[in-house]
């Protein structure tokens, strides 16, 4: 989880600072329009912070999957001969999409595949559809990202060694 640990830590620190501001607003006795507006602005900021770090984590996961996929193609391709070698070369240069790479790397892990798919779909909601009104439960997203990345790392050595 090394490449993700620092991002998760930073997200937590930023949220903590935002929470300080929310708590300050909550501790104010006045319920006037300005105080309420400040409170809602900070609550909204916390959600935006979640969106930013969620996307950053998924981008890191995509990168980790891409580099694991390339490593797999290189090592299997270099060992293969004849038609197999050509096939691996084709796979490598096929510009495989995110889910295809996950299928190659985790062929027997259908639950992790589906979690990767959900993460990617959620990332698209934010990145392409601009759906910023949906809050994120970051604890679950972080767990899924770390589970997938850990499993890919451990599966890679087995897959590279496969005949």
């Amino acid at each position: 989880m090394n490449e993700f640990g620092h991002i998760i830590w930073l997200h937590e620190v930023c949220n903590d600072l935002i929470d300080d501001q929310i708590e300050y607003c909550l501790s104010e006795q006045e319920d006037d329009a300005d105080s309420l507006k400040d409170k809602h602005t900070w609550i909204k900021s916390r959600q935006t912070n979640d969106h930013a770090y969620f996307c950053l984590l998924v981008f890191q996961l995509e990168q980790a999957i891409k580099s694991a996929f390339m490593r797999l193609c290189n090592s299997r391709g270099s060992k293969a001969i004849g038609a197999d070698r050509i096939a691996w070369e084709r796979v490598k240069t096929s510009k495989a999409d995110f889910l295809t790479m996950v299928k190659f790397l985790l062929p027997d892990e259908i639950h992790l595949y589906h979690r990767a798919k959900e993460l990617y779909r959620d990332r698209n909601k934010i990145a392409h559809e601009g759906e910023l009104s949906l809050p994120i439960q970051m604890s679950t997203a972080q767990r899924d990202i770390i589970d997938i990345s850990t499993r890919i790392h451990s599966a890679l050595s087995d897959l590279e060694a496969a005949p």
Binding site: I22, Y113, I136, Q137, S139, T140
Partner: protein, 169 residues
């Protein structure tokens, strides 16, 4: 490719819920909230001066606005002791990335950051409500993150009583 994955539709596009889907989802959310509140009420110690009230909270979430649905009532649970609010369970999100729903748990006065109750039900991970307690201990730079804190614990009677500890003193 393994056969079991070939059947997948691989549809990665986001389809916001239609008006009908919004109402169906809200009805499902209300059912899950009422079931949880029934458990909470049954976990409260008898004869200890606790009273409960289920009142309406107006939900106004992004997908509802997108579908042109005005704010809709969802149940909020207030636990009082000797007429003073001790815990308030306010539904926060029915549409949320990474969970099937989220409730904020305030300690009576709404003057602190709430605890979080997450409905973690999904086809592939653990089911049921998990409690993530508010934790203001800032992690140290470079130290490993304690993920267990964020995964929370299954919400049961003991967790509920622990949340009410200040009120029990």
């Amino acid at each position: 490719m393994p056969g079991m994955l070939d059947t997948d539709d691989d549809d990665l596009e986001y389809h916001p819920p239609t008006r009908e889907e919004v109402f169906t989802q809200l009805e499902n959310w209300r059912r899950r909230l009422h079931a949880l509140y029934a458990d909470i009420i049954s976990w409260l110690p008898a004869d200890a001066g606790y009273e409960t009230e289920i009142r309406d909270h107006m939900a106004d979430e992004g997908p509802m606005r997108h579908a042109g649905v005005p704010p809709q009532p969802v149940p909020e649970l207030v636990v009082r002791r000797n007429s003073q609010p001790v815990l308030i369970f306010t539904p926060n999100a029915c549409w949320i990335i990474g969970a099937a729903g989220r409730i904020y748990v305030n300690e009576g006065n709404h003057k602190t950051i709430p605890h979080t109750l997450v409905d973690s039900t999904s086809p592939f991970v653990e089911r049921g409500w998990r409690l993530i307690r508010r934790d203001r201990v800032r992690p140290a730079l470079g130290k490993p993150i304690d993920m267990s804190k964020w995964r929370g614990l299954p919400f049961d009677r003991l967790q509920l009583l622990a949340l009410m500890e200040p009120a029990n003193e």
